[in-house]
Amino acid sequence: MTTTLTPPEPRVATPVSNSLTAGKLPNGAPWMILAASLLVSAGLFGVIALSGAEFNWVGTLVVAALIYVVVITVLSRIVEGSRRSTDRFVTSLVTGAFLLAMIPLVSLTITVVTFGLARFDPEFFTYSMRSVTGEGGGALHAIVGTLLMTGTAALISIPIGLMTSIYLVEYGRGRLARGITFLVDVMTGIPSIVAGLFAYALFAIFWGPGTRTGIAGAVALAVLMIPVVVRSSEEMLRLVPNELREAAYALGVPKWLTIVKVVLPTSIAGITTGIMLSIARVIGETAPLLIAAGFTNSMNYDMTEGRMQSLPVFVYTQYANQGTPASAYLDRAWAAALTLILIVMALNLIARLVARFFAPKFGR
């Protein structure tokens, strides 16, 4: 911009030192380069395939991706300068990371859905496994058990976890806050199987040895869930700008109302994500439930009496203790896994709607 008053020369496409006036790749360039890289790579592997080897899809995609990254970086550096070149390089890395991660995730989803659909029929949702051998049977008892135990665990741990994180962010000063932070850290380190052993031992004190109940399972899950709720909500509450709190105080709003009306709504999307994560974390736990809530083939709605089946335990036992025909057991295992994922999906959807409903409207 600091040009002299000499009459402007006609623009030429030579690199200029001023990055703002540097050239720019045409809008469609990345797509064209991507297509070209794919063609070149496919050609390369096609030639190799001619010599008798099988056409290597994975190799083609990997080499194409490499060619694309190199070409777009170099080309952008020549035309647009080093800063834009770095930007393009990072863009392709970020997109690449995303696509790379999608491979296992998509593969997993496809596996669960294809295997799970085999037994995803009405019988699966209306039958328990009582007196069922071989084919047939269902997982109603496990679905009910999972919902009851996870629901109870959530009722225990969400209030405790959320209030603790509020305490840590809004009230906590000094030794108690530091101590609780420290203890929450310790708590994230509780191995799930130890939480199960703990809950089992705890309820054995009250109700005698060998007691396995739904409530014991729920307590084991709550022990695992609380630290996740605390840490994720704490992180989100800390991100609420202090200006918002100060503005509320300046208007004379009491602290607790500030928290309820300003701080929580601002961070509710993040908190909900954290809570959903914590539910997701525990709803698939197998080891603690196997120990604390046990295993049964029959229906049980009573949290305080008798063993309770859950979906992950159902999946595990169906896989680990296959009878004949083995395929019937595996099909039930996959169908239960699919059911579990669908339940979480539904919970997630509800939570997102809740979050959207209560969150203040932002620019984004």
């Binding site: 019988e123 209306t126 039958y127 328990s128 009582r130 007196s131 069922v132 051998t133 071989g134 049977g137 269902g138 109603l140 008892h141 679905i143 009910v144 919902l147 009851l148 996870t150 629901g151 959530a154 009722l155 969400i158 209030p159 959320l162 005698g208 040895p209 060998g210 007691t211 396995r212 309820v260 929580l264 908190i271 909900t272 809570i275 959903m276 539910i279 196997l290 120990i291 046990g294 295993f295 049964t296 083939n297 029959s298 229906m299 709605y301 063993r307 036992t317 896989y319 680990a320 203790n321 296959q322 009878g323 004949t324 083995a326 919970l347 509800i350 939570a351 809740v354 209560f358």
Partner: protein
Amino acid sequence: MNLKRFGAPAVIAMTAALALSSCAANEGGATENGDAGSESTLSGNLVGAGSSAMDAAQQAWIAEFQNANPDVTIDYDPSGSGAGRDTFLEGASGYAGSDRAFNDEEIAAGGFAACAPDSTIIQLPLYISPIAVIFNLDGIDSLNLDPATIAGIFAGQITNWNDPAIAATNEGVELPDLAITPVHRSDDSGTTENFTDYLAQAAPEVWTYEADGVWPFEGGEAAQGTSGVVDAVTNGTGTIGYADASRAGDLGTAAVQVGDEFLEYSPEAAAAIVDVSPFVEGRPDGDLSLELDRTPDEAAYPIVLVAYSIACQQYEDSATAELVKAYFSYIASAEGQDVAAENAGSAPISDTLREQAVAAIDSIQ
């Protein structure tokens, strides 16, 4: 008030659970009208725990037994033999299933909480499962292997499928030039204990380790549980492993050398090994613990897992005694053994063993 909003997903989950609360379609009916055609007067709950190897058979027995006695609920917890024995010891279960019987020290220590103070315990080998040596080689369904070769493969001394030791007993089979990947159980298991016991008894010069539920050295591939071993062998190349014979499926299986002949596993051959093995000495009546003989003279398949059904001879609680007695009688019956053979691939016990078992069960009170 805002807190209620956070609980919303949980509340909805609970509502959904309640909505689902109609009874399972296969439950309830029989229990309520009780006219399922049986004159059974038995009722109550019985909990068993123990061996996961026995689980498929237990589930089949329980299903049939519950059909015949609709007011009875039996839960078998396949938590593992060790856990099963501990659970039984502390009185939290009515009976135990275990891959090994209680040994002399444990019986002497006593303290079986569910049993009457002076009661002995009853240990019955009612589940006999042949263990197959399974492998995954293209186009080969069966191989003849002698004990020393099996031990050499699993000890990592024989490392290629075209090894002369394998070729010597398999004339006419085209063995590939392929590395052997032996697969063993990574968990502590009765299957491993029985398999290593076989190797130690049948090939002591090659297999220098003692029988143990944990694989005794670092080496080879490890996989969790029977399902894990079968999966690893199926998905790998040049793999060999050991698993319950009922799970061998399409995999190749080894015919094991006994005396001078090679023997594929079969229910009869597996039941035979139990009949030729002596009982452990010095045990009270009703304790049918076996000292398995892995090098028999007769045509008996030596790699078997025997799981014991364990109960008290005299219970504190007579209702439990009645249930256990009825349930064990069913297990030991020819019908019960056939159900297990059909659903779990076990070998039905012989009539001589049944007589002794029934006598023991009848003494339960």
